[in-house]
């Protein structure tokens, strides 16, 4: 790892200030993506600004149907929160299957969505739940937030502070994990809102990152059942092909994961 200077921020304002004092500074939350990347010398921030101890970025609250998860909340906390399990068990289930227990004790929802790994789990939940990404500067709809492979709408120095969404009437998540890394080879999050509208988001499979699937949405809006998902045509042409699986293989996985997600919802 190249040399770096560590700073611990005490508030969001403090973090922004620390970050802006160097051109090559980066935020670190759980570090479960960033530290391994620095160890491989694929990232070399001159300064690291630690967000993990900022109280205003932590915790889960459910107000009526409105859910808010602080960006520095760990995967472990999301997977075990009683409030969240009551309001949206699908997201707790998703968090419980990220990586392994040690990764879940450190990794955060804010770090995961800021990183927008095309095989990460959370981006699919954000898109399917129609979540809002709250930053230190503005609120961005998930739809506009995830812009491509490892790309987001975040400006330099902008911090994800929290995510908010309305608890769905029904939701489910199923992923086919890569047997070595546990990242999704295909993961599908299905959600039916209180007003009956259906959103389906797919991670791990798209060649341009997480995306919504119009065909699955229409089929499930007409008939919320695993059978309805079976009849949908999943086009392989925009899907990833790599050593783990071909685009055609992933197209089939998307359909199977959609069926499992509906069955779990």
């Amino acid at each position: 790892m190249y040399a770096t200077n560590y700073h611990r921020a005490s508030s969001v304002a403090d973090a922004v200030k620390l970050q802006s004092s160097s051109d090559e500074a980066k935020y670190v939350s759980g570090g479960m993506t960033l530290i391994p990347t620095m160890k491989q010398r694929l990232a070399a921030p001159s300064d690291l600004v630690d967000l993990r101890h900022i109280a205003e970025m932590k915790g889960i609250s459910v107000n009526g149907s409105r859910v808010r998860i602080g960006a520095a909340t760990t995967h472990y906390e999301v997977s075990t929160s009683a409030e969240l399990k009551a309001a949206c068990p699908a997201i707790s289930h998703l968090a419980a299957h990220i990586g392994d227990p040690h990764v879940r004790h450190m990794g955060t929802i804010g770090g995961s969505i800021a990183n927008n790994d095309p095989a990460a789990d959370y981006p699919s939940a954000m898109l399917a739940l129609g979540a809002t990404i709250v930053t230190n500067a503005r609120e961005v709809a998930a739809e506009d937030f995830f812009t491509g492979l490892f790309e987001t709408a975040l400006e330099a120095g902008e911090i994800v502070v929290a995510v908010t969404f309305d608890a769905p009437a029904k939701a489910g998540y199923a992923k086919f994990p890569n047997p070595a890394s546990r990242y999704a080879m295909a993961g599908v999050f299905v959600a039916k809102a209180g007003n009956g509208s259906v959103r389906v988001a797919v991670t791990g499979a798209g060649s341009n990152g997480v995306f919504r699937h119009a065909g699955l949405e229409a089929a499930l809006a007409a008939n919320w059942s695993a059978d309805a998902a079976s009849g949908v045509d999943v086009d392989a042409s925009d899907l990833l092909s790599d050593l783990h699986g071909s685009a055609e293989y992933r197209a089939n996985l998307v359909k199977v994961m959609a069926k499992r997600a509906v069955a779990a919802a």
């Binding site: 690291l48 630690d50 004790h105």
Partner: protein, 163 residues
Amino acid sequence: MAKVAMTVNGRKVSKECEGRTLLVHFLRDTLSLTGTHIGCDTSQCGACVVHMDGKAVKSCSMLAAQAAGAEILTIEGLAANGELHPVQAAFKANHGLQCGFCTPGMVMTAVDMINRYGAKLNEQTVRENLEGNICRCTGYHNIVKAILAAAEDMGAAGRQAAE
């Protein structure tokens, strides 16, 4: 270089280290606590697992500075008064190790899962919670057996103490 202070196995320590120093290097090289192992360069094997503020973490995937102010527990801190911790004793009794390289991480992971699940721990939960720990020797069966035995032991001990 900056001063990093934390509590390791109940003892307060404060040492100079670089910003980039990993917690595992701080433990092994600065504090000479070589029980915590390094088995991979990809954050996947779990040989380096320690507890930070009561939760299992991979000490190879965090900086010592990130742990400043925290309570760290390593494999060296488990045995008390010369007696093996029940999880260590169960690994010995159930032949839960062969070469022993993965064992410190396995034991720390086992203690963490027993803390979280207590008496509710079953074989499937144990296997799921070993997701982040790789063993090249045992084939895992005896590790799972040892963890379940220790969980039962510790549950029994807890019940006895409560009676």
